[in-house]
């Protein structure tokens, strides 16, 4: 290969021959990420990350979903720990299809409930219910939310399966507003163009 124009690439000392082929599909786990834009506002699903453990998932989520604007909190949960209901459409709320029966096993602990309120949008955190298991949590949520606007899909996650932002972690967003260089508004140049055009005349 020719010498690169990139000094960093030349320092890499790229090997000439074949590399050891990659082991296929040595994959990290999948985590769902929820973000709170402002204190007091609700958490909303923003996307997913892959990570070897939940702490790193949290770090990746921070890098991916809170580079600019505001962020007051993030939480992450492993995707396989998200209990997902079926989907409904139009005016038919999924709560109409949730059974009031649930298995009796499990100790009472908190479960977080997320609603999909509009097709094409993201799931939003709606609250938590003390329950014995995921189905129980759904039945409890039904009692509370069935009379509200229709919900088309519900996610339930055991609170203990979620990594929340700790109070002391919040300082990592303290400097967000100082990073003006990440913002389009920091690159005004209309005056320069105007002066340039005037000089040309």
């Amino acid at each position: 290969m020719n010498k690169s124009l990139d000094p960093r690439v030349n320092r890499l000392d790229l090997p000439q021959g074949e590399l050891t082929p990659k082991v296929p599909l040595d994959q990290f786990g999948t985590f769902e990420v929820f973000v709170q834009l402002k204190e007091g506002k609700g958490y909303r699903h923003e996307g997913s990350v892959h990570a070897p453990n939940i702490d790193m998932a949290f770090l990746f989520a921070k890098e991916q979903f809170s580079r600019r604007l505001m962020c007051a909190g993030i939480f992450v949960a492993e995707t396989r720990n998200v209990f997902v209901t079926g989907f409904t459409e139009d005016k038919d709320s999924i709560y109409n299809h949730i059974s009031d029966d649930f298995p009796e096993d499990g100790e009472i602990e908190n479960y977080e409930v997320f609603h999909l309120n509009k097709r094409g949008k993201q799931h939003e955190h709606i609250g938590s219910v003390p329950s014995k298991n995921h189905q129980h949590a759904l039945a409890q949520a039904k009692g509370e939310f069935i009379d509200g606007p229709p919900v088309f899909n519900i996610w339930v996650i055991k609170t203990a399966d979620i990594l929340f932002t700790e109070e002391e972690d919040m300082i990592m967003w303290n400097t967000l507003h100082e990073k003006k260089f990440r913002d389009a508004s920091d690159y005004k140049a209309a005056d320069k163009i105007k002066a340039f055009k005037e000089r040309q005349q």
Binding site: L25, F28, T30, H50, A51, K192, F196
Partner: protein, 328 residues
């Protein structure tokens, strides 16, 4: 940044003859109503395949596109430019992650996409197979290649697949910074010394042909592309996107006193369309098939990064977590 989800050789026609006509009609009615398709919805095989290919290529383009610009971080003129370029390159890699996630919801794992990138099985935007010789080249990329990408991404953001649209919404919001930053850099050179102006003009001359390639060859009318338009996978023709780009940016380049190396370039006042010398599509084909100035280097950098980072990933890999398809 990205261009040309539609620029590569068409897929071997996977027809829709074998699809259930009732489900297909419901699917098309949903798109017709302007609703998004979500991962749990029924969808034709052709729709799924085409979207995976398109979103995956888009993601690869973000990763590979970070290389020619990344080259210039250490040599960017001054601390402010270094900060900005670092932030931009970080955004681009972030875009790749968002896009891989969107493609994964269709059933192809991220690792498989990365495998297909390093083995050369999947493509990425052809423009990144060209080198960034000077700082002005990196300014051209930041401003105009990103501008081209934005034309493409804004169109795709109106498409039918929910997760892709949501990823593009985030991406487009960040692109506005890339565009303004790039323009700022070019204006700085344009209004600077003779030497700076010459350097910028030389970069424009170098990058114009790949920029014209960027949106892909003129689309041939085919049943295939008609279906993809109806399904809102392909949102506008390559030529329409190229025309939109020329319309928005040629005046802005001229305004800075630069020339564009195509004497036939002008807007037809009757049709409202731009006329230009047809770029060399044979070269485009040759480069896309591997024979460009930087193809080998780009892939070698990715492969080496993969090989040398392997022990870290291996050390981190725990059986306690599990790969599954992302939810939305």
């Amino acid at each position: 940044m990205y261009g040309g989800g539609n620029t590569f050789e068409p897929m071997k026609a996977t027809g829709i003859e074998n699809e259930d006509p009732v489900l297909l009609a419901e699917f098309e009615a949903r798109i017709e109503r302007g609703e998004k398709i979500e991962p749990h919805d029924w969808m034709p095989q052709l729709y799924r395949k085409q979207l995976i290919r398109m979103i995956e290529q888009h993601a690869h383009s973000e990763i590979i596109g970070a290389l020619p610009e990344g080259t210039w971080i250490t040599r960017a003129p001054g601390f402010k430019r270094k900060l900005a370029l670092m932030a931009k390159v970080q955004d681009e890699v972030g875009h790749a992650q968002l896009l891989y996630s969107a493609a994964e919801t269709l059933g192809k794992p991220r690792e498989q996409m990365l495998d297909d990138l390093v083995t050369g099985k999947s493509k990425y935007s052809n423009i990144f197979n060209y080198p960034a010789f000077t700082w002005a080249d990196s300014c051209f990329i930041s401003w105009l290649v990103d501008a081209g990408a934005i034309v493409n991404q804004l169109a795709n953001a109106r498409g039918s697949y929910g997760p892709y649209c949501r990823a593009l919404e985030r991406i487009c919001a960040e692109e506005s910074f890339h565009l303004k930053y790039g323009h700022h850099c070019v204006i700085h050179l344009a209004t600077g010394t003779e030497k700076q102006r010459e350097m910028m003009q030389a970069a424009i001359n170098r990058w114009w042909p790949p920029m014209m390639h960027f949106f892909g060859p003129p689309d041939k009318a085919s049943v295939h592309s008609e279906i993809l338009m109806r399904w809102k996978v392909k949102m506008s023709s390559n030529d329409d996107q190229r025309n939109q780009f020329l319309d928005m940016y040629v005046p802005k380049i001229w305004e800075l006193g630069f020339t564009i190396p195509d004497e036939n370039l002008k807007k037809n006042t009757v049709t409202g369309k731009w006329e230009y010398t047809e770029p060399d599509w044979a070269e485009f084909k040759r480069v896309i098939n591997g024979d460009g100035p930087c193809n080998a280097e780009r892939l070698a950098v990715r492969r080496t990064a993969e090989e040398r980072g392997r022990w870290v990933r291996k050390a981190l890999l725990t059986p306690k977590t599990e790969y599954v398809t992302p939810l939305a």
